[in-house]
Amino acid sequence: MTAALRSNVSSRRFPPRQPGSYAGGSKVAQFQPSIERRSGQSQLQPIGSQAAVRQTVQLPTQAANPLWLRALTFAQRTSTVVTFSLVASALAVYGWTVYSQQLWGKEYDRLDALQRQERQLTAATEVLKDRMAQEAEDPASGLSIPDPTHAIFLQPAPLTEPAPVQAAPAPQPIQTAPLGY
């Protein structure tokens, strides 16, 4: 981040760096950024073309990260995933608690209404029954109080022994003669 900022800012505001101020102690051939002030463009040039011919230019290789660093990176990535999933599930759980409470409230109102209706229905049914019974008491209704003379009492039928199952008759031979012509 620092380098990127520097390239932007220094190109406009700061005087060009003295060559060699960095590379004084370096033994490795380096690319030296040379900044063209007039054109405002930067250009990479080897320090000397002759030297480049003689020496093998060794490109900077990406050194393998040490194990601890890789472990830390891995840990960071995993923890990011875990954190995000935890946050998501926490939000979901919170949402559910709020929603379930709302749902409970609605259902409770419904239960209350149903219980009220049940009571009203019960009372209405009983009032109707009572009205009918009262009307039935009126002689003009043509209904009469149950009277033993109108009752028929039946003697319970004696228990009958189940008839023994008879052996099935022996199968008759199939008529071989033709039934008709």
Partner: protein
Amino acid sequence: MAISFPPFRNFRSRKAAEKEGQRLRGGQSASALTQPSLKRSPQRGLEDGSGREIGERSPISPSNRSRLLAVWGVLMIGGAGLALNLVRLQIVQAPMLRQRAENQQTVALRPFVPRRPIIDRQGNVVAIDEPAHTLYAHPFLFQQSRQEMATQLAPILNRPKQELFQLFSSSDSGIRVEYDLPEETANRITNLGLDGLELERHQQRFYPQQDLFATVVGYVNTERQGQAGLEYSQQSILERSIEPVQVSRAGDGAIIPDELSGSFLHQDDLQLQITLDGRLQRATRLALEQQMQQFGAKRGAVMVMDVQTGEILSMVTEPSYDPNQYYQFDLDLFRTWVLTDSYEPGSTFKPINVAIALESGAVSPNDVFYDEGRIEVDGWPIQNSDYNERGGGRGSLSVQEIIQYSSNVGMVHIMESLDPADYYGWLEKIGLGQPTGIDLPFESQGQIKSLEQFVGSPVEPATTAFGHGFSVTAMQLLQLHGALANQGEMVVPHVVRGLYNAEGQAYWRPKLPAPRRLFSPQTAQSVLGMMEVAVQEGTGESAQILGYRIAGKTGTAQKPSPDGGYYESARITSFVSILPAESPRYVVLVVIDEPQGEDAYGSTVAAPIARGVMEALIAIEGIPPSQPQVVEEPTEY
């Protein structure tokens, strides 16, 4: 890093920076100056052209310093103010604020907890709680004129608007307009959205059958207290009290149910079942009403009991009252007089006396007694009720004939066979002077003379022999005859079957005392035989039902007057019957108080009612006839 903050660079004027740089260069070498900085932070090896490290702190000018101080001061004062406020809120005002928040966030949830319903034997609801609303008006809050309010409310309340207007004009606040508004009406009023009206919900007991069960069930007053009948005696069972639950409330007023216990929603559906049969009750009431109208009787009662269990199947008293509007009735009607009032049973007590005489061994069923028609005991005349008509006595009578003809003199002679003290012991043993123990309230016990009085004069056992000189309640007489019918074992009459849930499973049943043996089965059987003859050929002929064997006994007792002696015309006629006589199951007692007319006797007034009740009982309970009539098979098709 500091380089990424342009404001910091702008903070210093370029001129000042250049000047500074010159001064520094003049003093020390640039490299020497930057060394410590590099050492301190190797990554910050950035310098500007002057060799000075970017981001380095520089002394602040006095004017800036004062500005900084001012900002710092403001921030510190602000911070201190916030801290003080925090202390005030968290420590000083904390209890009050917490209380306020609790008041706002919690609400006392008071679910509608109805009093338990009462159902009859078939499960018909006899008493149920309904929500009702009281409407209050506060005219000082009206947004409209009182006239307009009255006009709007009149059609809903079904009252003339002039009346409402007068009501609204009577006071400025707290006018009770209506006490028991049903829910729909209350909803309509709420939907009007009028200011100055207040609806208060409460429970109201509703009795769909009106006066049919009033004698047994009783009523509940506006304070939700049972005042008569089962509503009074079973108050603790019927009443359910759920303490209001404090629950939290969300911002929109919705209840947060996390603090509710499981029992909050799971109210039990238990109902109190009574032993009364609604159909029989109706038939009984009809029979009683008709006969009472015909004889202009003051009051009447009919009770039917299952003699084996003591369950009361029917209990009707007339006149009765509508418990929905109990406040419109005379207080006297709320008294279950078959329990509270005792009376002299008269001839209906004779079978009990005979059973005592037989059981004590003093008399055998085949003994014969001489009926003179009229005797004097200790100077008091005792005569048969038909003495004047017959002009004398009936001569020699067997015990069974004494019952059959209801001979007073014969009964006196039977009971003379017992030692008066023994007789008194028996009266105590069968429970005279003690309550029956029924589960209805305000039961009184009959009266019985003291042992000294009873033994002191021979007229006491003599009058007791034909059911006078002591008093019992109608319920007690029913219980005693129930014992005769139940092979001599006395059960406790009761009307509560228990608590049952909606599926009809029993949750609780009352504990009843074990039956108490009064008489041997043989004694009970022989007395029942005598009573059966009384119905077949004696005074109870009008209770006969074709095909059924019925045992019964009439009774016509003169009412005692407060100043001693008896009223000439005021009588209590009664009839007790037991069916079916061959295997007794039910006992029916009819008591009619003060029937008018010359021919008002137990046989003419009470026995026909008993027959009507028994006919309904036979049809409802499906009692097969004792002497079945063979239906002739049709010969032609």
